[in-house]
Amino acid sequence: MIRKPLRPLALVLEARSQGRNPAEIERENVRARHEQARDRSRLRAESRLLVLILAFLSLFVLVGVRMGTLSMSEPMEPQSAYTGPSIVAQRGNILDRKGRILATNLDTYSLYATPQDMVDPLMAAEGLAEIFPDLDQQDLTRWFTGERKFLWVKKKLSPEQKQAVHDLGEPGLKFGPREVRLYPNGRLAAHVLGGASFGREDVAAAEVVGVAGVEKTFDAFLRDPTYAGEALELTLDLTIQSAVEHVLRGGMTLMNAKGAAGILMDVNTGEIVSLVSLPDFDPNDRPAPPTQGNPADSPLFNRAVQGVYELGSTFKIFAAAQALELGLVQPDTMIDIRGPLKWGKYRITDFHNYGNELSVHDIIKKSSNIGSARLALEIGAERQRDFLTQLGFTEQTSVEMVEASGGRPKFPAKWEDISTITISYGHGISATPMHLAAAYATLTNGGYKVTPTLVKQDYIERGPRVISPETSRQVREMLRDVVREGTATFGDVQGYAVGGKTGTADKPIPTGGGYYEDRVIATFASVFPSHDPKYVLVVTLDEPELATEVEPKRTAGWTAVPVSAEIITRIAPLLGLRPEIEPAR
């Protein structure tokens, strides 16, 4: 750049010759130079401002456009993130304690029809009637040729049926994908599992809803996608369940009983290893609830947790245990059992005459009503009620099945002395076999309260103490002697030291007015091995009758006890229990 001098010599000389002040030239030049510099800097500032404006504008436009596209675009699942095995839009499986499947899902199709799309409705009706024998051809023809625009034909199709329908080639017959609940073991553990059916239905999908048993109790858990198809693990053991069911079914037939229930429970944790109620049903094809007759006779009725029965002499052990715990008696204390025991207008008698007095031990062994009544009278009504409350006999069991809430025990509102007497031998109070199993587990496990459960847990906390370990030991010895030389001698299984108590209760007439002469509920509550208790088994037979030459046998000692013995023989090896020689006392 050529720098122009402030005082150019030529101009200065010219000005001097003309007599002007040459300093003006310099001032003029300085002014011009300042003006130039000012113009340049303004231009630069303006262009900088412009660039800045453009930059901000483009930034705002960018943000705006991005916001616009975000708000207008369809939401999309992230594709790049690893989703893991978690995203399973399926109902969770139900497994047994060893991980074997009790309930799972199967993809299948439903069949629906849109008659207006049909080419040949008559042929379609004929073809469908041939594939599905339970559909009526005339009904189908009427529906397909009528006014209806849409109708369900079948809720579930097998793959073969789907192919057969497909082969009809009728465009008006359409398939909708369906997920159905499958119980691969059929009738096994049907009452525990319950069943499932469709809730809201659509052409494209339908929700599967649990309708009974654990399926209903844990419906929310099984359906919740946050648990993402996590399986529900039960405490049941499929093998044991099958063996118990098999033997119990055989026993029920042999004893001509109309129903049976069996519960096998871990004596320490209250885990239910097997729960059987007969007659049963197939949860894959759950029958409709009965609309007439006694609901307790329906196969849907769960005798083990819903059936509230008077459980008879099995209750005697509670009176004995409490009397021992309170220190009122010792096992060898003699009790006056001269009968009949008169209380008001009631007369209490024994099944046989057992003499004038028996020890507490022998009252249990021989099952004396009068002896139990005397023990109960010493205990008193209030303490008896408190003890039975502690054992859980005054409210429903907390087993995780919806049916359990139906098993509300029945007991007198006013617990008078006569109630105390009858309750001591299991009359005047009704409870479910599940109550009995839990109470027997509590009495024999060393005295800790047991809460029955069906769900496998990592750790089960021990309940509060109900009786002392010493009383528990005495109770076990008494129960063992019932089997060794008392009313349940058929129950002895060599090597497993079975201890238990029988109970035979007359069934009340449902219309009221006393009890049946020839209908009983026979119960055997047992614990094995009694010197080191592991399991409690409760077997209940409804109206058993063993025909013999002399007279039909109905007592538990002849019916429920041999069935229990056979069950223990079958399952104890499966449970991994090695036969042992009983230690001497």
Partner: protein, 114 residues
């Protein structure tokens, strides 16, 4: 000098653009692959579910009972009984002194027989 700088910057812009496009296409390809894999996993899982269900169905105790009954002639399977528990002591121990095996062959005899 300045021109060289301009060319260098221009070249870098081109190179970065090229790199950005390549990355973009690779990402899309990876996403597609992931999606394909995921649908394959879903399919495999569905298949696994069916196989598990089938396994459970074929192993249901009722069917095993029937199979045991059907093959009783050959297998003679019976339920496990308490008597079948044994102890290690009940297993007969073979006396190493009285071996039932034939005496070892002498190599020389073998050679001689040929």
């Amino acid at each position: 000098m300045r021109l060289l700088l301009y060319f260098a910057i221009f070249g870098m812009v081109i190179a970065q653009g090229f790199w950005a496009y390549t990355e973009n296409y690779e990402t899309q390809k990876a996403l597609n692959d992931a999606q394909k894999l995921q649908s394959q996993i879903a399919e495999a899982r569905a298949r696994l579910g069916v196989l598990n269900a089938e396994w459970a169905y074929l192993n249901r105790p009722e069917r095993l009972h029937e199979l045991v009954d059907m093959n009783f002639d050959r297998l003679q399977l019976l339920p496990l009984r308490p008597e079948q528990f044994g102890t290690v002591g009940e297993v007969p121990v073979k006396d190493p002194q009285s071996s039932d095996l034939p005496p070892a062959l002498e190599l020389s005899e073998l050679e001689g027989s040929e």
